[in-house]
Symmetry: C2
Subunit: 348 residues, 2 copies
């Protein structure tokens, strides 16, 4: 007779383990953030954005805010993909209303020399994960994350949000230099994610926000390869938590991405066709793809699209989510509207 | 005994008719334009950009400039996708260095009332086509074109180049108004393309530059549907010239686009995987996908990629091209380098 107490396994872990669940788990990219009045209130009291990320008490509170207000099944660590370049010695700051700014790209030797100190620098993020996991109900999952090495590299090369023309040109003109930069980022990202998993993150997600507009051979080299190597390094450390990859804008290249990276789940963007999702579900769990513009617009068109997504993908492993981050002026009522529909759904 | 003179059929027409040719025909998007010193010289003497489009002598000269300098197999009419909104009564002008600007969106009734006068307004474009066709060697093809109705609508709604957030929101919040606008554009575009074909255009191309970031159901409604209706209207007028569609950024949605629009060829963007192209070649000719950033970067990486594209797709109907327009500071020598490689190729 087995007397172990039955711990409820978070829905997202069931789905990533390819179990059939009564309904898909649901969370929203950027669910902790500026569309929430309680976030904006905290933000006013806080210092700059980077300090918030490095303050475990505050970052844990922000992570938990949407979990208190909404029936999300999953929390995602409040942090930023640019913590790694900062930890590796490149200056990173945020200009109000303009997004991130980065100082000059350090030499590859300098970046490499920071690999050990970067782990220490990022230790407060582990503390945030521990605090969130301690407060979160056991049936709700917790996702840790990092940026995809290519996306992080685009910011490091260009010094800001951009059209990535300089970074993509660098990929063509300085392939060895880019590969060396990606190698350092792979190593640093793997260490960072291992730390998050040890602190209690139950799923790890790689946000490759700028996977769009890359030729197939370049995508293979700078997106698929580095993701596979990050996952291999994390697995080599004995960490078995599932990975979700998000090659945003990867289009028809996403199938090769799923086959060759070792991800357990793939986040799809707003464009992903129903058929592509069904093909991918034979191999991994899929996540997505509600358009944040439709979430903001609301109305019966929103209900119809939610129903359509539930219908087309709920037979397989599916995590309901947006196809991109929530927009800051999205009405709270629209979030509630979608969550009621998804949590009230049951597979036919 | 057949005594008809054998007219050499342009390679592009052979490929669009699914014949096997010794090598793929080649042309470049924006091959007539600012990277050419002779274009810049003419541009300085000319008035504003829109006047150049409406001056048949000048527009024909610009169309022919790259044909004199390079061994391109195909010429493409020099014109702009915003001639249609102007012809329908919306103000269109170009701000130096900033791109197009449009006045307020006219009412749907006003746009409809301009359908007949728009045809007259656009008559000079037909004259440009006639002049080019008269000067161009018979073995070189001539492409006429228009913007995809959705892309043209995004400019009409937003008044300028943008992230299309307002237009995409309009698609969700005002679906009937958008459908009515697209209907007028379908009608006007079909009439415009019929006129171009009658004037001598041998291929018609629909540039849907902003097909990216659309959910599958929206893409079906605002891209696939309008393209199919344009083609049906052109066919109903007895015009049989082949169509190339370019749903740029359409990713995995391109397969459905090919199946349901009636295009004879599809232009792919830089991202298109080899496998997707080969699947599409079973149904239509494909065109693309060299990255203009690699063309500008040059070097041996450019040669390798050209060889790779020729190898992966030359067994089927393939038109060699870029995956996006040529960039204005592209060295002429790089264009020559690629053209020598493609025109010197023969299928194994």
């Amino acid at each position: 007779m087995d007397l172990k107490p039955t711990t409820p396994e978070p829905l997202i872990l069931q789905v990533l383990g390819r179990k059939v669940t009564p309904r898909p788990p649901v969370w929203f990219m950027r669910q902790a953030g500026r569309y929430l009045p309680e976030y904006r209130a905290l933000r006013e009291k806080a210092g700059d954005f980077m300090s918030m990320c490095f303050n475990p008490e505050m970052a844990a509170e922000i992570t938990l805010q949407p979990m208190r207000r909404f029936p999300f099944d999953v929390a995602i660590l409040f942090a930023d993909i640019l913590l790694i370049p900062q930890a590796l010695g490149q200056a990173v700051w945020f200009e109000a209303g303009e997004g991130p700014r980065l100082g000059p790209l350090p030499s590859i030797e300098s970046l490499r020399a920071h690999l050990d100190s970067a782990e220490q620098h990022l230790a407060p993020i582990g503390e945030t994960v521990r605090r969130v996991r301690a407060e979160l109900e056991p049936e709700r999952g917790l996702i840790g994350f990092a940026g995809g090495p290519w996306t992080v590299a685009t910011y490091m090369i260009e010094g800001r949000s951009s059209d990535r023309v300089a970074a993509r040109t660098y990929a063509f003109k300085e392939p060895e230099a880019l590969d060396a930069l990606l190698d350092v980022l792979v190593e640093s990202t793997a260490r960072y994610l291992i730390m998050q998993a040890k602190a209690g993150a139950q799923v790890l997600k790689l946000f490759e926000s700028w996977a769009e507009n890359l030729p197939e051979d370049v995508f293979e080299r700078i997106v698929i390869g580095p993701h596979r190597r990050v996952i291999e390094l994390v697995r080599a450390a004995g960490i078995t938590v599932p990975f979700i990859g998000f090659p945003r804008g990867g289009g028809a290249l996403v199938e090769g991405y799923v086959e060759r990276t070792g991800v357990d789940g793939v986040a799809l963007d707003v464009q992903a066709p129903a058929d592509l999702g069904r093909r991918l579900q034979k191999k991994v769990a899929i996540q997505g793809v509600l358009d944040p513009l439709l979430l903001r617009a609301g109305g019966s068109a929103l209900d119809r699209r939610v129903d359509q997504l539930l219908e087309q993908w709920s037979d397989g492993p599916y995590i309901f989510n947006l196809g991109h981050g929530i927009i800051l002026d999205t009405p709270i009522a629209h979030v509630e509207q979608v969550l009621a529909r998804v949590t009230g759904y049951s597979r036919p």
